[in-house]
């Protein structure tokens, strides 16, 4: 009974303890913390939607999700390995090379994308909606390779055959509720240019992968983007980039001028 009464009795009020002084052993930590907090962006200038996931991220997730349903045929891998040195089929598969998907693979991929992201047609390039649900457009033959920049898949490139030196973008702009491609450069082994400030510019994505393989250099595939887009994408990728080695079949004067205007040192290999 007494115990029950004791429970009913109000608890003695305890004054909240305030630690005004930082213990000496934590002073250094406190300084670090405050400097860290100072370095944080000003809340007034913070992003409008702080937890807003960007379109690039969503597009990457959609394209990657769809790619999981595509496969790389062994004969295709072998042909590519003949053209580009130093690649094994497994390596090519890891890089993201796929054979053009069949009808079934496309349906599976569309279902998976639809289930996870709902109808995204009109927002990402290979998706479209012809009134019969969202679908994925893909070429019927050849190879498909994802162009990656900043670690994200931006769009797909279609190689008609392994030795194709002018791959096309996989677009769905010609289809109902399709979307135009946003052309992007392809960056292979980005980490080297971040250190050295120099990158290698080549024509297309597979070539870039080949050039970067086994060397301490970052390679960028032009993929037919415009000079100004190239410059802005390069600057987005590596703000400290200082020089570019160009290894293209044909170097356009506009390209050179754009690179030089962006204070980049240019050297043709």
């Amino acid at each position: 009974m007494a115990a029950a009464l004791a429970l009913l009795r109000p608890l003695p009020s305890v004054a909240p303890v305030r630690l005004d002084l930082v213990p000496r052993e934590f002073e250094a930590l406190d300084n670090t913390l405050s400097s860290f907090l100072d370095a944080l962006p000003d809340p007034a200038k913070a992003r409008l939607y702080p937890e807003h996931i960007g379109d690039d991220l969503i597009n990457d997730a959609i394209l990657t999700c769809a790619f999981a349903y595509f496969s790389l045929a062994e004969r295709d891998a072998a042909k590519v390995a003949e053209v580009y040195e130093g690649f094994t089929p497994a390596r090519l598969h890891t890089l993201g090379l796929r054979s053009a998907p069949g009808e079934v693979a496309r349906i599976f991929a569309a279902c998976a994308v639809g289930e996870r992201f709902c109808d995204q047609s009109g927002f990402v390039a290979p998706l479209y909606n012809d009134g019969d649900g969202m679908k994925i457009y893909a070429p019927s033959h050849g190879l498909v390779f994802p162009a990656r920049r900043g670690g994200l898949t931006r769009a797909w490139l279609h190689y008609k055959h392994p030795a194709d030196r002018a791959p096309r973008w996989v677009s769905s702009s010609h289809l109902p509720k399709g979307c135009k491609v946003r052309p992007s450069i392809h960056v292979a082994r980005s980490e080297f240019a971040a250190r050295s400030g120099v990158c290698l510019l080549v024509s297309h994505a597979l070539e870039a992968e080949e050039a970067a393989a086994g060397a301490f250099v970052s390679a960028v595939a032009l993929n037919g983007v415009t000079p100004s887009a190239l410059v802005s994408q390069l600057q987005e990728e590596w703000p400290d980039l200082r020089a570019v080695t160009i290894s293209l079949d044909e170097v356009s004067p506009y390209l050179l001028r754009a690179l030089q205007a962006a204070d980049l040192k240019v050297r043709c290999a």
Partner: protein, 462 residues
């Protein structure tokens, strides 16, 4: 180093370049500055659009929303991202109430009054007058943010329709505010952010709500509460000059050209007024200084033109003087003492010296555009933006002289060319005219480059 023989030489080249780059000193500040410049150049159209739209919003808020309803109005403007233009159907006296900050109870009382009551008509008058001023502002800036459809009477049913206020800018603002959520909207994100911040400021600022005046008649022409910054003024000037240059290039009939030029001059005069903080309606047309007019007469007298050409010239000048009301204004101005209407002394001397330098150069046989460029260079040595703006204004004054000065310049140029004996008179006239157009275009280009150099950060000038 390279496992790949095909690429060995390329890798070697890249490594060499990397070593070379590493040896060179890196000027990080300059690099960041150039990157910033480039980014700004890329975002220029968006920034300009944003500047226009935020100006529109400012005008919109000033003339439509100031009281509790502002929240609804703005919410309608901002949140209805896929709707029609925002429209308000209200009677003019109601708008007058909003304009004067009348309370809701007071409004109810007024509503009970008969339609033709004096209080109501005073309010309506105040609103209409304010809106007229606003439309002048719209015309001046070239940004139409608000339109008023006057109330009408349906003759069949005998019903009155209240006047309507349309806000075409609402859609744009809403789109900008929602741009971050759209696909490919990343580029506009910071503009959307700025727009949101701006709206927040407008909503919270209590000073904006008070447009109250005791007498409706005392309502002066409305001006923007916040002073216009040089950047904004420059944007307006550029659009004006571009329009003018476009008009000249299109080979408009002479009356229209004269009209366009008069518009420009009026706009520039207003611009000067604003820059100097003067609010005087009489100063709208100050294009030609009286001394200059005298000088013009002297010039015609001095140059020994053939008799027929001289007479044609004076006729031209007369015609252009009598053509529109501008001529009358100019005559009036020339009669009034220069202290009242003329710009300050420095400005005046500046302008005069430039005119003089230009005419000297023309006499020496220098082509018009070369002379104008040289004069521009001579006067354009001021480093700060005020100087640049002024220099630009002077330049425009030269490039597009007033309607009654231009025939004179053309005549002079034609005369010089004919004297040289290379071309016929018609060809010379054509060349002279073209030169004038080129100078106009050049002026627009220079102005544009100035604008791109100026700071556009909305927080700074809003």
């Amino acid at each position: 180093m390279s496992a790949n023989k095909k690429w060995a030489h390329v890798h070697a080249e890249a490594a060499e370049l990397a070593a070379e780059v590493r040896r060179e000193p890196q000027d990080k500040a300059a690099r960041v500055a150039s990157l910033e410049k480039r980014r700004r150049k890329q975002d220029e159209p968006a920034r300009r659009a944003y500047a226009n739209q935020s100006l529109a919003l400012r005008l919109f808020v000033q003339f439509v929303g100031y009281n509790p309803e502002i929240k609804d109005t703005l919410n309608a403007a901002i949140e209805a991202s896929a709707g029609l233009d925002h429209a308000i159907t209200r009677q003019d006296w109601e708008m007058g109430c909003y304009l004067r900050g009348v309370s809701r109870e007071e409004m109810e009382r007024l509503r009970a009054l008969p339609a033709r009551h004096t209080e109501k008509s005073t309010l309506a008058k105040a609103w209409k007058r304010a809106f007229d001023d606003y439309q002048v502002e719209e015309k001046r800036t070239g940004i139409v943010a608000l339109r008023r459809i006057p109330g009408s009477m349906d003759l069949k049913t005998g019903q009155k329709r209240a006047s309507q206020i349309h806000a075409p800018c609402a859609q744009d603002i809403a789109e900008i505010a929602a741009a971050a959520m759209k696909v490919q909207g990343k580029r506009f994100e910071r503009f959307a952010q700025a727009a949101a911040a701006h709206v927040a400021i407008l909503r919270d600022d209590p000073a904006r709500r008070a447009h109250t005046k005791d007498e409706a008649d005392e309502i002066k022409p409305k001006r923007l509460q916040q002073p216009d910054t040089p950047a904004l003024l420059m944007v307006r000037a550029v659009s004006k000059v571009e329009k003018l240059a476009e008009g000249l290039r299109r080979d408009l009939p002479p009356e229209m050209r004269a009209e366009a030029r008069a518009h420009l001059i009026a706009a520039l005069a207003t611009l000067d007024d604003e820059a100097e903080g003067v609010q005087d309606d009489e100063q709208v047309a100050v294009p030609v200084h009286p001394d200059l007019k005298n000088k013009k007469v002297d010039k015609t007298a001095e140059t020994d033109l053939p008799a027929d050409r001289k007479s044609a010239d004076t006729e031209n000048a007369k015609a252009s003087k009598n053509a529109g009301s501008d001529g009358v204004v100019l005559d009036k101005l020339s009669n009034t003492p220069p202290q009242k209407t003329a710009p300050p002394a420095t400005y005046e001397t500046y302008q005069k010296s430039i005119k003089f330098a230009l005419s000297e150069k023309l006499r020496a046989g220098v082509p018009f555009h070369v002379a104008a460029a040289e004069v521009e260079e001579e006067i354009g040595d001021e480093a700060d933006w005020v100087g640049r703006m002024e220099a630009y204004d002077r330049h425009v004054y030269h490039a597009c002289p007033s309607p009654d000065v231009e025939p004179d310049l053309i005549a002079e140029r034609v005369y010089i060319m004919c004297e040289a004996g290379d071309v016929s008179e018609t060809e010379a006239a054509q060349i002279a005219r073209r030169e004038l157009c080129e100078v106009c275009a050049e002026a627009a280009k220079i102005a544009r480059s100035h604008v791109s150099e100026l700071e556009y950060a909305p927080g700074k000038w809003m």
